[in-house]
Symmetry: C2
Subunit: 120 residues, 2 copies
Amino acid sequence: MTITAYTKTVGEVAAQSGVAASAVRFYEQHGVVAAVRTQGDQRRFDESAACRIRVARMAQRVGLTVREIAEVFATLPRDPQPADWARVAEALVTEAEARTAALRDQLAAMRWGARPGDLA
Amino acid sequence: MTITAYTKTVGEVAAQSGVAASAVRFYEQHGVVAAVRTQGDQRRFDESAACRIRVARMAQRVGLTVREIAEVFATLPRDPQPADWARVAEALVTEAEARTAALRDQLAAMRWGARPGDLA
DNA sequence: TCGCGGGTTCGACCGATATTGAAGTCCACC
DNA sequence: GGTGGACTTCAATATCGGTCGAACCCGCGA
């Protein structure tokens, strides 16, 4: 049973997640990732940080805000297991599908400017 | 064959589409809707304007930007017919589904931190 | 003719999502 | 125990998607 430690620097997490270090700090400020501080006040992230950020970026593409993503991630325990990630993944995909379905339904419900007499 | 005229004021379009008049002007600036001007320099929109804006708002919910939406709408002719709207609707839903699929695929492709030896 | 409820432009401001730069600190390696 | 690269904070800047207010214009009805 390996204890997942807080060992990654902001730069390492940035490299592993494909975003700028400034974005990693931004995500920490907004609760997408968590960090502890060294004696010298530097951030140290755990293994899940890069993962969280990669997932967050994908979720942003389907219209979720950073706040919404942080809320979903708030349900993750420390050192998330595959089952925890699976649950989060499903929540995100379900939300994306719900929004797409809402788009489709509302589009379908529109009367498309069918002015009576126009097609008659 | 009714010729669709430019008759709606900003306020009318705003009311019909459920957004503020300032937003209608914003959408015009960004190519989501088009307007002609009266002698007195006032905007006049056609019937499709409110429709475009309602659709645009839905599309924003699934992560499309105003620019992307404007590009899709750029394919609409003047006085769009139901078939034109159907094509646009399909393009938007398809894009939303593609983004959701990308999210799901990338989530599925992740190794979920399965560190060798951890589950052993 | 006057009033007034719209419309107009323009620029300031907002919140979200970051990026950049300055000034200073930390720490890993030699 | 240096040195240099990576880290820190804070403020400014940028883009996106709007909103608001000021100051002004336009047309309609009393």
